[in-house]
């Protein structure tokens, strides 16, 4: 490679890789839309006590399964509870489950993956085979088995999802660490006198954050669906506390007589998952080192 074929000195001086990615992300219209929607849902979840029009668990025999009206925009459920209020409070459970379980998966998976990729040898073989074995079981089946084993509760569902989602991060971190380990700058780090742990944390980790970030956003979407599925099966959020999955669960008996009970949480899951996916795709494009066009 000759010096002339390298990247030209950019016009914007002193721009860090992170800022450059942000600039490119902001030019990606759908991704920004996704981010805005995600942000809106986060705000709704945080502000639930103030914006929910009714108490989400207060029942009323006077208004059972009422269709949407001015008083109850999304109608009421089989116990006379306001669907909109339950949806708003349910956002807490769903987003929490998505974010916390993926955070857990990252915290479990990335250090193990880094270790496998950088240590190599039998350490790598053992870790990789375990990750492969876990990945060979369908995601939901494993999550359901773990959640059932741990007992029905939202915390246990999150833990189950975190463990189930972690092998993907092990594999990703291992692959990226292997790539990084063969580069000159990692060898340079070694030749300067960096101990292995410092090379891993100071040099390798920051360079593999972009793909991990992309994977995390996409995994949050999956985790939200998983939490909804577990709650639907009665393994996640326990009644009477609301979550989108458990709302769908109780709505299935009234699909013909009161479809709004299923439509509202179903649409909420759909929109949030779509928003996270759009955001993830945008992040992937913005952080792709080869994507110099944007």
């Amino acid at each position: 490679m000759s010096a002339a074929t390298g990247p030209a000195v950019t016009a914007s001086a002193g721009e860090s890789p992170g800022r450059r990615a942000l600039r490119r992300f902001l030019r990606h219209r759908l991704a920004v839309f996704g981010a805005v929607v995600v942000l809106a849902f986060v705000l709704v979840a945080l502000l639930a006590p103030w914006i929910a029009p009714y108490d989400p668990i207060e029942t009323s025999w006077a208004r059972i399964r009422r269709p949407p009206s001015e008083a109850h925009w999304f109608g009421t459920d089989e116990n006379g509870r306001d669907v909109l209020s339950r949806l708003i409070w349910g956002a807490r459970a769903s987003l929490m489950a998505g974010v916390v379980s993926v955070l857990g998966a990252v915290l479990i998976g990335v250090p193990i993956g880094l270790l496998a990729g950088l240590a190599g040898g039998w350490v790598d073989t053992v870790i990789s085979r375990i990750a492969d074995a876990m990945l060979s079981v369908p995601f939901l089946i494993l999550a359901i088995a773990l959640a059932a084993f741990l007992g029905p509760a939202l915390e246990n569902a999150m833990l189950a999802i975190a463990i189930t989602a972690s092998p993907i991060f092990v594999r990703l971190a291992r692959g990226m660490a292997l790539d990084a380990a063969s580069t000159d700058w990692v060898e340079a780090a070694r030749s300067l006198g960096n101990p292995p742990w410092r090379t891993a944390l100071v040099h390798v980790l920051p360079n593999i954050v972009p793909p991990l970030l992309v994977q995390s956003t996409l995994a949050i979407a999956e985790a939200i669906i998983a939490e909804a599925s577990l709650s639907f099966l009665g393994l996640g959020q326990q009644p009477p506390a609301p979550s989108w999955g458990s709302m769908l669960n109780s709505a299935q008996r009234f699909l013909e007589t009161a479809p709004w009970l299923a439509i509202a949480p179903g649409a909420a899951i759909f929109v949030v998952v779509l928003a996270f996916n759009l955001m993830g795709d945008g992040l992937r494009d913005a952080l792709d080192p080869r994507g110099t066009r944007r």
């Binding site: 001086a13 721009e15 580069t183 300067l192 006198g193 040099h203």
Partner: protein, 358 residues
Amino acid sequence: MSEPILELRDVARAFPVRDALGRARGAVRAVDGVSLSVPEGSVLAIVGESGCGKSTLGRLMLRLIEPDRGAIRFMGEDLRALSPAALRRRRRDMQLIFQDPFASLDPRMTVEQAVAEPLRLHGIVPRAQEAARVAELLARVGLRPEQARRWPHEFSGGQRQRIAIARALASRPRLIVGDEPVSALDVSVQAQVVNLLQDLIAELGLTFVLISHDLGVVRHVADRVAVMYLGRIVEDGPTEAVFAAPRHPYTRALLASVPGQGGPGGGKVAVLEGDIPSPIDPPSGCRFRTRCPHAVPLCAETTPELEGAAHRVACHLADSLSPATPPRERDAGGERLRRLQGFFTDRANPAPSTGDRA
């Protein structure tokens, strides 16, 4: 020049070659029994074709790759006996400059962080003086101190190589190994970086091992030259002696291949035919015999050892070969480089860092 700061004795390293099922199918003998010594304050060049094991040898010297056998003594210490932690501490005295400046800098570290890293790792200056020391180092390699806050992707190849040099200098090492430090750069930039390296070597009294295939640069910079072929050193001696009177047939062929060396009418030296043989299955005896115009049956039987005092050669026929025809143009290989260097020094210290945007 005095005591050797670095000494290698019979160092070898082979890389196993595996088939699709992971079974060993032989080994690439990248470096196969190399002995050499580098006196303190000298510049040793290691030359050879690509694939001859030069880069592996450079990394073995610094124990970035573990040798299979042999002894490495650095600053009077057996490098192979050091514990990992002791070896890391020792690294402040030995540094490596990489060939590709686009790959050797961590893309997520600013120039300042990169150059300060060795300072911090080895506790060389207090944190408060770090910025000043970095600025000093950047100025020394011809960059502006205010560029310290920038990122590697904002620089050209020549500038990046200057950053890498500043990083290598930061811990005040006794020995620097340059693995083809200029061959990835544009020709005009090469001359500037060679100038810089020469200045630094002279000024700081550096011991430098220059791994290169560019004979022009080597002749210009090195005190001694070691010629490598298929993992072994075939000739080793003072630069002028090797260039003026090469004794090994391979060295002769190598020198004859430098453009401008043959002159009008064409040189009489046979141009080498064929490729370098596979290091997985090297020829018996002298490894060069398959391409050597002078080979005799003896060459296939016994491996020649390096013999001689100051100017050593590993060839059974070294004494019976006709003396090499001295190159017609005395400094043929270095001519182009010299002109370029002159061009850049004449311009009274060109504005640092802007000059080498190729």
